[in-house]
Symmetry: C2
Subunit: 293 residues, 2 copies
């Protein structure tokens, strides 16, 4: 956490669309958003999207104009990473989206962002090996650091499975007969912040058992190279600074699920398992989704 | 949650040993404990074990005498289930125990209780099948309900692995050559309360892939019978009331890790994964264990 921005707990206001909290806005960001008084209604206890915006399209178009304007003013660093890609915002995963927003602007509102991570692994000489990607040196975030085999964010309208298949194809040229074997194995939820904003992130995790003669090949320039490494080396890398932090967490989740990290060799086992699944989906809402569906 | 006792958030005081919170005490239980003024120091903000009790043995012996006395008075229902078995209380899993307490009394202090659950499964006609136990009709809790193949609580001084092996032997007569294949695959953390008290529970989960000709046999009278059932039937049973609630959660975790429940067939996927890993180990303490070891 960056001391210059401070803890999100003390320095944030809840962000509402309608009567549902969908995010958190830091005060250093709030001061820019609340200038758009027809769009954002600020009070001492919350920031709310105007109720005059009634449809998905009205909300999305209006917020898009605000973000474009802020980008031109060059006052919010994250908007320099404009992606021309939107993400859907829902009040819960069961609901239809209520708003879509340019990906680089999501951290301004502290809305949950969804992504997929794929653990590619194989067996060599009876030993389990993981395929890791090393991020391209030209990437704006975490250049040259270790990553899971494939990963990427869900875009508007895309299903989790569609996203996983697309990332496998783009990042590692995985053919269809192999992506048919993608296995959903859980999700990892965490939250972090940096100077750009606040990032509550839910990462859907897939395992993909690859034939031993398969080699991933990057197709979109985002991965510099791939490495097939032993479990021991993965463990070492998790505690070194070589790994992109969220990818290290996904690798740790793999090591826990496959029995390599256990209560016998890791005293913080239960703590780690809990911290990788923080309750993002009940942080904003106090409804009980299980009983209201 | 039982309405007659109310939410633990509003009706509980934190329970401290030394300067560390290790549990939560409900007010309907507090009124019995605070009569022992030399042992428990009650204030408006906390209940604290007396600092005059300096060692593990002093603390354990003194609390044991209090619980025996309360049992004789017959004022706390849970003590009718006296087990003659103690559990260790630590301020964090990395620390030595600071106190041990009779198992039936743990819910009075709302301390974290640890247990193991073993998913026994096999492959039949290319289909994955789970072995489930049906609890004996004579058990005081959840009689006749479905359970995982084996489960049981960690007792003082016992390691997680030792406990898993012991429960496999006692509950299902699993021979050593099979318990060697026990695989630690994570843990499930949750909290519930009933008229007995408050139960923050951390369950270490093991998968055990069994040969198709193996049949579990109960050795300690706690399991009435074993059933080998299809994944479809496990899914049905999870949402029916046939399953002991915490065992249903362990079975759901198995179904998620093995790809049977996925983001494609379960809209509450991320919410469920988070709710099965609530942050018990950071609820009581605000230290950051990862950086203090």
């Amino acid at each position: 956490m960056d001391d210059s921005t401070g803890s999100y707990k003390q320095n944030c206001l809840p962000f509402y669309v309608g009567d549902k909290q969908v995010g958190i806005v830091r005060r250093d960001i709030l001061c820019h958003l609340q200038k758009y008084k027809d769009v954002f209604i600020a009070s001492s206890s919350k920031l709310k999207l105007s109720d005059d915006l009634r449809t998905f399209k009205e909300r999305s178009d209006t917020v898009h104009e605000v973000l474009k304007d802020l980008r031109e003013q060059n006052v919010l660093d994250t908007l320099n990473g404009w992606r021309n890609e939107t993400i859907d915002i829902r009040s819960s995963p069961r609901e239809d989206p209520i708003l879509k927003v340019e990906r680089s602007g999501a951290c301004l509102f502290g809305v949950i962002v969804y992504s997929v991570h794929i653990n590619g692994y194989t067996t060599k000489d009876n030993q389990l090996m993981m395929w890791l990607g090393r991020r391209s040196n030209s990437r704006p975030t975490y250049p040259n650091m270790l990553d899971n085999m494939c990963a990427g964010g869900l875009t508007s309208g895309q299903s989790v499975k569609q996203c996983a298949i697309k990332e496998c194809a783009e990042e590692a040229s995985v053919p269809k007969k192999l992506t048919d074997k993608l296995k959903a194995v859980g999700c990892v939820s965490h939250i972090f912040e940096d100077k750009r904003g606040v990032f509550p992130v839910c990462e859907y995790v897939f395992d993909l058992h690859l034939p031993s003669n398969y080699e991933p090949v990057n197709a979109d320039g985002e991965v510099g190279s791939f490495e097939m490494i032993t479990i021991e080396k993965v463990m070492d890398n998790i505690v070194l600074e070589d790994f992109r932090p969220c990818s290290a967490m996904i690798a740790l989740d793999f090591l826990i699920r496959h029995g390599f990290v256990s209560p016998e060799n890791e005293k913080n086992y239960a703590y780690l398992a809990e911290m990788m699944h923080i309750p993002l989906h009940s942080y904003f809402t106090y409804t009980t989704p299980l009983f209201s569906r």
